[in-house]
Point group: C2
Chain length 470, copies 2
């Protein structure tokens, strides 16, 4: 079985992905180049993600704030590494109505500079620390290519910005937020992510260290699905932020920032979905159960009324497909949309007191007695969430390679996935891997190292993952 | 009693307002001209507003969507009245990084054009109607003056955009959303708003009719606190949107749009607050109860622990002020922040099993037995919400005038508030009132008319309110 309007993912993964995003009504394009419309069904996934992440942030003491969306050119220029990283890709506003602005302003590509300016005003004493702020907003980076959820000029995201009394506290916060992203992506998005540290080359412009969440898509390509930066005192010094410490001496605070975006939705699609359409983890699916009536309304409607009442009580989101399409058409649509569970309530099945329940991930059919529907739904949603994670984990693990030397490395470069190697830590070797094999470093992982770097034969300092990336 | 850092509202209302916004940590300024930072305490009010309004929108069948933030110049130009209204105040993006754009794009000042372009693609048949979309986003209008929450270059708001099969349905939707804004502002914000229709002069650029929510501030000045537009077929025709109706004939759909913004927060402040600080309606206050321990910790802490447990169970938001400031300082701060209820838990009072509860709106003190705290809090929060509405209503009604002729009208123009008159409906009379008395039309209200227009002595067609506006 196969949906004819969706290209097969094994034939052309990129086309499969964009077909699916459009066909499942997640996104649409407009005359605004480089931007996309996130349609209600896609936006509802984002709302679910926001709700869960936001409560995880608040539970760990973070507060939401709203900064301006504009950054005056002079403010962007304050931290030199940062401006070098972002200036080539910002959108510049030069006119307000008919009037040329005295100083042009860019639309925030990220908001470190704005937060620093504000922190300078509000942080005076150690009593004002830590400051744990987060912002849900849209940022703009003038990308040349567009891919739904993965790469576009406008990005919906959240950016956390925190200030701390000590280096230890700031490093702890950086890792705490990395762990929150990891937990969220594993438990809610069912993504078996790898966490680690970015190399000097790949780290955030202005950071001391960048930690990353790396997910592997169905095609073995990496998706960087969230980052957490330890910024040290670099921005704070550039902005002149100081506080009186407990010894009544002026000191510079330590900073972090961390962000994750709608890109996570892309990661969910490219990990779990198939040629029939979306497969969504139950915990973030906007509609968890679709109910399809078949046959005599007088027989099926009362059963559906009872079921929806129970679903409401259990806080399960559902939809009854009462459109005048054929059941077959409705099944196909339910598969495209990736509703985790499809309940077929048929008049003929009801003669035997039976109802059919279909899991979207395995397409497994389960005929159950009417009285068992709600419990079957509840347990299936739970099982499905776990099974989806385990299935993705198994596939990912089958595409994780461990290369002991350059020969093994070269062999694995011909296969999709990530390759783990020793690494000396030099930019030279990293550049060589990129030029010669088209692979970038994904992340340095916390593992014991001994032996040589396979690219230069010098002593290895790190264990690192390499891979193609989105 | 008076907070020395806040100018008195009866001395200088404008300064009182900005002092208060800053002093209560609602906002701050940055080097970004015309924009403001909404600080955590201010943003938490907005989050409460969003949560309630969003659920009211969803209950009435609306779905959230996310459109691009940019509008290409050619798209903005499609509807001629609309572009005339907005082009003078949009921010133009002309460069992406180093590169000049082929076509400049503005940042949305509102999104009718983007929605229309999308609707043209997705509406084909009457079966696709109605489309009931809403968007939470930031818009930009290049204003010359800035006032916290009331007027700034960036505005956080929601904009609803709907399409309907018939004129009747669209008009009904326009009024439904007006009613939702009215209900929300009365019941949650405790604002006694007036609803009515805008004149031709004051209506939205591109609308057939604009309905408005007009609130009266403490100083008698009007705040337009939300609008709902019946757009007819104007945009739809300009964009060529057509659908096959039930008779299988091509027809143009009917459209509405409606919006409300963080301006509502300004309205809450300027209606309810006083010289001591904010007064917030309990239903939108981020912290509903502040608990202030006084004296021996071993005595007061167990009582506070019991209380916070009960507050959690009742879903009441609270804060325990454990800072090492004096109780007097904490009281003053609680007043500035406008926490609806202050609970003073004092070791000495506890000897008699007493606790003191203070209402922020009336500053009334209530000494209650320890066992009665939670019930007193619950009932006080309820009473306070109603009392705040009634107090604001009484004040507003005392500043509503009914002028039967030009002499009465002139007399009332010397007093703060709104003046109701007959009106012939002509632009000439409306312009004259503005030029001669500095008053603009607030809204046409649904009341029986007879007699003459006081400005031209021709037959009156409408009852209308006039007033100064923010």
């Amino acid at each position: 079985m196969k949906n004819k309007e969706i290209t097969s993912r094994d034939v052309d993964f990129a086309t499969w992905y964009t077909d699916l995003c459009k066909k499942a009504d997640l996104i649409d394009y407009s005359s605004v180049k480089g931007s996309m419309i996130i349609r209600p069904y896609g936006y509802a996934i984002w709302e679910n993600i926001q709700k869960i992440l936001d409560s995880m942030f608040k539970e760990t003491g973070h507060e939401n704030i709203q900064m301006p969306m504009f950054i005056p050119e002079s403010l962007l220029n304050v931290e030199k590494d940062h401006v070098k990283g972002f200036a080539p890709e910002v959108a510049w506003v030069t006119h307000g109505g008919e009037n040329k602005l005295e100083e042009r302003v860019c639309i925030r590509p990220t908001s470190e500079t704005l937060f620093c300016e504000h922190y300078k005003k509000i942080i005076k004493s150690y009593r004002d620390l830590p400051k744990l702020y987060n912002q849900w907003c849209t940022i703009v980076r003038w990308e040349k290519t567009t891919r739904p959820f993965l790469r576009s000029r406008e990005i919906l995201w959240q950016e956390g910005h925190t200030m701390h009394e000590t280096k230890e506290e700031a490093v702890e916060e950086t890792l705490r937020m990395l762990k929150i992203y990891e937990k969220f992506q594993k438990e809610y998005l069912a993504l078996p992510v790898i966490t680690g540290r970015k190399t000097e080359k790949e780290k955030f412009a202005g950071a001391v260290n960048t930690y990353t969440i790396e997910a592997m898509m169905y095609d073995g390509v990496a998706l960087q699905n969230g980052t957490s930066h330890y910024l040290g005192q670099g921005f704070a010094k550039a902005f002149g932020i100081e506080f009186l410490n407990k010894e009544n001496k002026l000191e510079t605070p330590y900073q972090t920032s961390w962000g994750a975006s709608t890109r996570m939705i892309g990661g969910v699609i490219m990990t779990h979905s198939d040629d029939l359409g979306l497969v969504l983890p139950p915990l973030i699916a906007p509609i968890q159960v679709v109910i399809i009536p078949i046959g005599n309304e007088e027989i099926v409607n009362p059963v559906i009324a009872d079921l929806t009442k129970l679903l409401k009580e259990e806080n399960i989101s559902y939809k009854v497909d009462n459109s005048n399409k054929t059941p077959g058409f409705k099944f196909a649509e339910a598969e495209v949309k990736g509703y985790p569970i499809r309940v077929e309530v048929g008049a003929r099945d009801l003669e035997n007191n039976n109802v059919t329940i279909v899991r979207r991930d395995t397409l497994e059919k389960n005929v159950v007695k009417k009285e068992e529907i709600i419990n079957t739904i509840l347990s299936t949603l739970k099982t499905m969430q776990t099974d989806m994670y385990n299935k993705a984990l198994k596939r990912r693990d089958s595409m994780l390679y461990n290369a002991k030397d350059i020969e093994e490395f070269e062999k694995y470069t011909k296969m999709p996935g990530f390759i783990k190697t020793n690494w000396c830590g030099s930019r030279d070797c990293e550049d060589k891997v990129k030029e010669k094999y088209g692979l970038s470093s994904r992340c340095i992982i916390d593992e014991k190292v001994d032996g040589k770097c396979p690219f230069c034969n010098k002593d290895a300092k790190y264990k690192i993952y390499w891979g193609k990336q989105y």
